[in-house]
């Protein structure tokens, strides 16, 4: 797509209205705004949402920030809930009670997606509902106050894996949810974050929404409170996540893996970690081995990804 064409897309009316209560510098709302921009003008949507920061800050009674119909149900069931909405659409369409086209997009944080909502997500994807599940992955339970999730990176300092005399943060490395979703043999899986003019995010959201069948989109969405950075730093953090290959950009289309971007010079992981307070302890001289171990894990996963994409 030409830059001019993309500019027109960026100028589409916002479907997440301003005035919500999310933090400045939050990745969650950037994800939502840009995913919803990928809806073609004229197409209607029902937006779903797992309980989390996004829900409590964008639908605080009696205000909603959504221009589209919206449903929040609970923490662990965004997949099943939207599956129900999508099925209702099929039923009512079949009976001639609805004429317009609707798309179904649900948002969950990593806690509601990787952990407590994992079964509900897996079931919805396996059953083949025509919907998109978007995980805005900020790597911890941020709404309840920065507790570790299975998406939390190794060694991160969280309130349930606090750094202390006998602790270096989270002991385990993160679950690779995009790969698990790809193993469901669904037609589309994409992983992205906020890079440049958001073209990568837009392209993937557009494909996810307009691919027939279930689609999963994993968006790294930094959290200034949990990651401990100054709000404007988010752009740099996302860039470094990609340039260090900590957060690779890729798609899995009909089972085929495609790398979206390969850095010319893969940067050391420190370039990503040093921007965030949650990894501060890793830069103590006595923790050099932890840093090396983390780098080795990132390298291993990157190599495996390159192999899959060949």
């Amino acid at each position: 797509m030409s830059q001019k064409g993309f500019k027109a897309i960026q100028e589409r009316p916002e479907r997440l209205a301003p005035g919500h209560r999310m933090c400045a510098g939050c990745g969650g709302t950037i994800a939502v705004r840009n995913v919803l921009k990928a809806l073609h003008p004229g197409d209607k949507a029902v937006v779903g949402n797992a309980t989390g920061c996004l829900e409590v800050s964008t639908f605080t009674y009696p205000y909603t920030a959504y221009e589209d119909s919206y449903i929040h149900n609970a923490f662990e069931n965004a997949g099943a809930t939207l599956a129900g909405v999508e099925t209702a659409y099929n039923a009512l369409k079949k009976k001639g009670k609805i004429k317009d086209n609707y798309k179904f997009i649900t948002f969950g944080g990593d806690g509601g997606t990787y952990d407590i909502g994992f079964q509900s997500l897996s079931g919805a994807m396996e059953r083949g509902h025509d919907m998109v599940y978007v995980c805005y992955d900020n790597g911890a339970y941020m709404n309840t106050g920065i507790q570790r999730s299975s998406a939390t990176p190794q060694y991160a300092d969280t309130t349930t894996t606090p750094v202390g005399k006998n602790s270096n943060g989270k002991p385990q490395s993160r679950k690779d949810l995009a790969a698990i979703m790809a193993s469901h043999n669904i037609p589309y899986v994409g992983q992205t974050t906020f890079i440049g003019n958001m073209m990568d995010l837009y392209n993937k959201a557009e494909k996810a929404i307009y691919t027939q069948g279930p689609a999963f989109l994993n968006i790294m969405a930094p959290c200034p409170r949990g990651w401990r950075y100054d709000a404007p730093e988010i752009v740099n953090i996302c860039k470094m996540a990609v340039e260090t290959c900590y957060w690779p950009l890729f798609e899995v289309i009909e089972g085929k893996w495609h790398l979206s971007y390969k850095p010319k010079n893969k940067l050391p992981l420190e370039e990503f970690l040093k921007l965030q307070g949650r990894f501060k302890h890793l830069f103590k001289p006595e923790n050099a081995d932890l840093l090396a171990a983390f780098q080795a894990e990132v390298d291993k996963r990157w190599e495996e990804l390159l192999e899959k994409c060949e």
């Binding site: 919206y70 099943a80 209702a88 009670k97 079964q119």
Partner: protein, 394 residues
Amino acid sequence: MAIKERMSGNEAVAYAMKQINPDVMPAFPITPSTELPQFVASYIANGEMDTEFIPVESEHSAMSAAIGAEAAGARTMTATSSAGMALMWEMLYVAASNRLPIALALVNRALSGPLNINCEHSDSMGARDAGWIQIYAEDNQEAYDNFIQAYRIAEHKDVMLPIMICQDGFIISHGVENIELLEDEKVKEFVGEYNPAHYLLNENETMAVGPYAVTSYGMESKRAHAQAMMNAKQVILDVAAEYEKISGRKYGFFEEYCLEDAEYAIVAIGSACGTAKDAIDALRAKGMKVGLLKVRVFRPFPGAEMAEALKNCKAIAIMDRCESYSANGGPLAAELSAALFKAKSQAEVLKIVYGLNGRDFTVADAAKLYEDLADIAANGNHETEEYRYIGLRE
């Protein structure tokens, strides 16, 4: 002309489901309600229904998908038992709070543990404060009739609440008895089309469901929900009166069997009432003034009406087919005792727990209970325990 058939309770409710033909059914298998989604899936496979069936991966997802579908504007149903209902628990409250008139066919079964698949009311009684309407049946006929009436009650504009249509696991669900079914057209006309005022897929307006409500708003939401439950009382009676016209069968909050002049009464829910009726027939033949109050509607709770119906009784046994571990008897006994107190009843009350984990309740048990009531009425209530078990092995 009504159709005369022989069916189990599950077959009867599945037949009602077929006749109503709702838009969406998410469901998950669990004994003894498993047959319901099976029958529906077969009806769909054979082109006899066009409901969209969602074979979900858990009961939590069944209720979650039901909430999504109903909020989207589709008439929705599901079915479950026991642990399945327990797994839905969180979502039962959300469904009711969102004022979604989902119909749930509940086949009552004991909650674990110990693991047991037989009849008990612990599942629905545990959910008694979830904000759902609860209607119980004595047999397959009532289970069928109640399900046909379900959407008319739940979807009424003054109500808009989910509804649980309960039947005793195995005893009713798998017991085959004679039944009278209504013609498809009659059911279709009675139940009518579902046209909600607001829904997610309304092409003319958007809607947002499931807000975060701060302290300034949440309490009003709950009070409005409570009002809907109060409103349900009249609607239940109105729908029953209309149903009588097409079926010839009369329903209310409860059934009074030989109660008018009864000195000794049993109050119970479900299939045990049929057993009690047999005992009553035998004891009445011997001249004993015994009667039964069979609770049909437990939510909303018709406490004042029940107390009025029992006002001439000298002694009343209130029977619960579940433990509530309150050390004070079961939930029906607790709530009805309170209603009797409010009505200034002077009757002796005996709280009974029976039938746990499918333990039989026999005609002999019921007859003995009436004799105990007569003894208590004559000689005073010498019960030292707060409540009594029937059928417990020594």
